[in-house]
Symmetry: D2
Subunit: 280 residues, 4 copies
């Protein structure tokens, strides 16, 4: 069964109307207009913040998730004209289908964000002796393997087109965690998954930057607390944000956009972001 389809395609008119409405709210920034951004992994944090910002900047935005019919993604569509896609990013066929569909629907993506953490519930805070091997394997497949597949297809799409005048074919950005550079206790599988994604990203950077693709690795060294309807910012596990002691995903998105717009004479490969009070 073909798993990757533009969600709610049954009513394309619905999406189109939302897109047009969103368009009227866009800035007329010449930087972003016409560019297509694809965010793989869809939740209320970094993905939603990025989608909103990229849409406001005039990009056509696609978000892919295993379950694209979550309210938070439906809101992105309704309010920001973001197009939703169903995709299990561990599956080669799904990822191939996703890039094909997005390219056909919106255009070839110039900014691809891989935003999948990968952990499954019962792997959290498990001693190495007690971690379920099957969950460890899933965590690694969810994170590292999906990053490989998304990175591979993004690179293929970007390399296929003509070289733009500014030499920048596109940006592939991998969101990661502090486990990307430090293996903490009680999280062997996640450390493996996050380090693995980091190694992949670094290899891709060395290979693709000289071909005009800006590869970026952004470990977020913090819990991420997004803004709720009541104005508070919260993290499901770490509780409520106080004094900006969690990463605000709206601000992460701003740095993502800056990195995407860096000139090829001064590309930054890695940018860790952490709150001012974080211990490191």
């Amino acid at each position: 069964m073909a798993a990757t389809v533009a969600f709610a395609i049954a009513d394309p008119g619905h999406w189109l109307a939302a897109r047009l409405a969103a368009g009227s709210r866009m800035s007329n920034s010449s930087n972003g207009t016409g560019e297509v951004a694809l965010i793989v992994g869809g939740g209320p944090g970094v993905s939603s913040s990025s989608a909103r910002l990229f849409a406001r900047e005039g990009m056509g935005v696609a978000v892919a998730a295993r379950t694209p019919d979550k309210p938070v993604l439906e809101a992105l569509e309704a309010e920001h004209g973001v197009r939703r896609y169903a995709c299990d990013a561990r599956e080669p066929g799904d990822v191939a289908g996703l890039f094909e569909a997005v390219s056909k629907d919106l255009g070839v993506p110039k900014l691809v964000v891989h935003n999948i953490d990968g952990r499954v519930g019962d792997i959290f805070r498990k001693p190495i002796t007690e971690a379920d091997p099957q969950l460890a394997r899933e965590t690694i497949l969810n994170s590292t393997i999906s990053a490989f597949l998304v990175g591979q297809h993004a690179a293929r799409c970007m390399l296929a087109g003509d070289l733009p005048e500014d030499g920048h074919r596109g940006t592939i950005l991998f969101t990661n965690a502090s486990a990307a550079f430090k293996g903490y206790p009680l999280s062997g599988a996640f450390a493996a998954a996050s380090h693995g994604k980091s190694g992949l990203a670094q290899s891709m950077a060395r290979e693709l930057m000289p071909q005009g693709i800006h590869v970026v690795h952004c470990p977020i060294d913090a819990a991420i607390g997004w803004t709720r309807e009541d104005g508070t910012r919260k993290h499901w596990l770490a509780g409520e944000t106080r004094d900006d002691d969690m990463a605000d995903p709206d601000r992460i998105a701003e740095t993502y956009l800056h990195l995407h717009r860096q000139h090829r004479s001064t590309w930054t490969y890695e940018a860790v972001m952490r709150p001012w009070k974080e211990r490191w």
Copy 2:
């Protein structure tokens, strides 16, 4: 002898006129207006680019150099209203005087950029067995010790004032080289100096970020090629830039500004910048 004075103070009217003229060219960005930026180390590359961009964004800008009467700095004054200061940044008294003078003339600096490489001519590409110990010592004093002094006074100034509503007392940014994270052969003294500055910056970041000061470390992994009057970009040693294969200091300044404006929930401590074609 008092070494730190606002240069050309004999004709403050001259500076004031330039400042006002520059002001009329400023964007009316509410972000920067009223902020003061101090750049220590003054040349035609990163310092000049930063000074120009910060001035355009509405900041009051000071540049300190051992010899502030270079044409390139005079041009900053004439065209962008940048104020010049004489300062030997290895000398505690000079650095103390500099911060005092800038605070009095322009206001307490909110963005301080340390932009001193430190190498002296004959230390370049010397085997460890042949490097002159006196020049090695000078290189380390020029780079690491001046960074210590500038960082210390910047922190004192920023901590002295009231805490702003956004919790961001200011930004201290250290420009560095790839020698900050990799010790290359034939450059032992420079590796020591650059690593030393890196260690200092990291210690300051862990100490000062929880007090509201954003400490940033930016190793530039490239030769820096600035734009000449004829439009070409060149580096004195590495020759002419082709296809953006050297770092464009105007673009470095853009990332500096972005880092200065990051929200305290998502501060980036370190951002390496390198051209797309650079090997690393």
Copy 3:
């Protein structure tokens, strides 16, 4: 189907004779006598060198491999009394069976070496756009997942026993490659696999060292050239060794042994080994 069995168990007398003969060649080092070493991954390089050295030091040595009937492993049995086990280290059941069998046959292992590279033939030197996703996945499972399983069972075995007087329950050592700390171009999957193993090892070190298990990570930054029958040292891809420009696995084994014998007051977590001429 039980996949893990002591190979050639059909003739245990054969193994026992070899073991006794090897014993007569052992040093009477009191350090090693009675200790059991298990090496997972069996080839002519680091595994064989380690097995020989550990046996000479008086340890009981087990080697596990997918195909334990290779001549090189048969020679370890015949000449050094090393016991061979069949094990597909990606499979949880296989690894569980391996530790059970070794513990029963030789005793609980005190030194466990994970020595699996993981690459499969056609993944070498492939651009990210051309690497077969299935082979990338296999590479990661072979390397990172097998390391997880081996590390998990090693930790369980070591933690189950009484705490020795010197507080050292055992050593878990992960052989790795330079891809563990640097992602090279044209090797995204291997960079992911090697970084993943590195993250796992570091997490395990932080978790297990305070429980008396010395976790060690040894990236070998070189081709490995083992000594052939004619006395030359060669690598299958990199050709013949000249002037010790490849890593000699006999020397790697010496450092492994040193690390295993370090006192718990001064444990080294990571030791990169590279030839004197290697560029890094």
Copy 4:
């Protein structure tokens, strides 16, 4: 004034007798006999432990210190035949004189250990805003500059002789602290000094290893607790050692010796040592 002299040279017979007595206690290890080791920086911890071990292994051992008439160094002479030298390692003339004197008295050193921390009393745990700039400068000169001078002269001596058959001209080992790789708060000057030494060592390694000199960098991530006369191990600031929770310098020396004896096909550049319970 010539600052570097063999201390107690007024009575060379005294030293000779001690040397001969020590010799009779030496192992007849063929590895070490005839080699000369020079340890710069002399205290009761790593320096004394190294000197004792190297002497037991049959090396001729020299220790240099600003004040070589400390009882702990006199004991090294009396009990282990270690020769003492006065040297202020920040001074180019002193260091030149030291290498000249040792080469003349004992022979050209094959193993040189730089073992100077560099901190001066009142720099400990000072906020960046309060650290005395003069003490910061002294800390950096004591550590980084002395490492430069010692490394430079060691390299000159080692490169001057014939290439030994095994291609190993000698080992230069820099003891360092965890501040070499992590800049902790309240220790900006020490972070600068330790990072600086690290950068120097890495540059020297890349330059000198291909010339046959093994450069080694050993950050000790722990307080060092040496054994007192009553058998306890203590650190002046951190108190008494319990359960091997401080680094035992006798064990550090063992790893130094192992690293010195590594084969050039598998040199380790960096080995951090930390107690099993240390947080990192």
